[in-house]
Subunit: 217 residues, 2 copies
């Protein structure tokens, strides 16, 4: 049985190795965990002894098969709680993260099973991120960053890459949410910004940075 802290490290390692380099460096992990490289070295050695990560000195870390499953179960809990908070308790999607960060560590398989059922077995969280099942399996879906599409493309927003408050507030302001239908009207070559129409009503221009953070399907 892993501690809260160990679970959080595992989640961070899984997350980092899923978004870039194959081996997660000590410094990157220290930054992600808001701690020092020295602390990371200690913890990683401990996780390695528990066989939930693969680790060789100076070579970075990666989750083991067992560690990956543990990380995915924590992610599952996190995302199910986010659905609960938004759908049942009327939280805004930018208010849920800190609370879900706590709730994800509650240990009770029955609780998660019942919560899943209560929520109607959701497959995506309020940010559009997929919810793995208890075996760590995702319901696969093809998706594409808005910034990768061509003029004339139409798609539905299924996820956002950046879950930070600032970005979500911006999306609320311009009227984009999960489920919004977006049509690409024009792409400005100069800076990669895009003219888009939201739900066939409102037309706006979004920067390349914004377009990079919106997933369509």
């Amino acid at each position: 049985m892993l501690s809260f802290v160990e679970e959080n490290y595992l989640k961070a390692i899984y997350h980092l190795s899923n978004s870039g380099a194959e081996a997660v460096t000590t410094n990157a992990l220290a930054e992600e965990m808001h701690t020092t490289p020295a602390s990371v070295s200690d913890m990683v050695r401990k996780l390695s002894k528990k066989e939930v990560v693969h680790y060789k000195k100076y070579q970075g870390v990666n989750v083991s098969e067992e560690g990956k499953l543990i990380a995915l179960r924590v992610i599952r809990k996190h995302r199910l709680w986010e659905v609960f908070l938004v759908q049942k308790l009327d939280f805004n999607w930018d208010e849920v993260h800190d609370v879900a960060e706590q709730l994800e560590h509650i240990k009770s398989p029955l609780l998660i099973q019942r919560l899943d059922e209560f929520l109607g077995f959701p497959k995506y969280d309020p940010h559009g991120d997929p919810i793995p099942d208890e075996n760590g399996q995702f319901t696969e879906s093809k998706r594409e960053a808005l910034s990768n599409t061509e003029t004339g493309t139409t798609g539905v927003v299924v996820a956002v890459e950046d879950s930070g408050t600032a970005f979500l507030k911006y999306l609320d302001k311009v009227g984009i949410s999960i489920g919004s239908k977006i049509t690409v009207d024009d792409i400005i070559e100069f800076d990669g910004s895009m003219d888009i129409t939201i739900d066939q009503k409102k037309s706006i221009t979004v920067s390349k940075t914004v377009a990079n953070n919106i997933w369509l399907a």
Copy 2:
């Protein structure tokens, strides 16, 4: 901000001083917390420095006004989560305690406020124990043990004294739950057992022991 462990000590001190002696002894607290008297001494000194308990060496402990409010807020969270587990996630009332023991330490005033609202501002948990408000105030209610009533009395079950699995299973079997309407048809003087009617439908006989553990209002 208190740690999980400190919150649990505070809850235990509050609980013990509310059910017996005025000053809680080190040994009693050690037993309640499943730890050693030495550990209790350490912790109590620490809580005293934080001014959440009153403590003089060799004289036992008691919660301070501030400590009492903290303890009551933890109890509030515990009981609200119990209501959630039973009402929304279909837990049996004898399955909720361990999970609520974890959930009670989640720190988010907004979460508790919204949960309270979602549950319809319940005043009692599934065992009939009263839920304090955020200021530690209980909604007072007059209640009476079934065993203390007279023939002809009608009342609603508002609480059970014994929350053990065996008793709760028995109540489920005979069809008594919180909210059941009970009419006292006859009292057998010989052993104090009672003939009662449940919800104006089913008539059964309950022993004095059972009647002692059911609260009516």
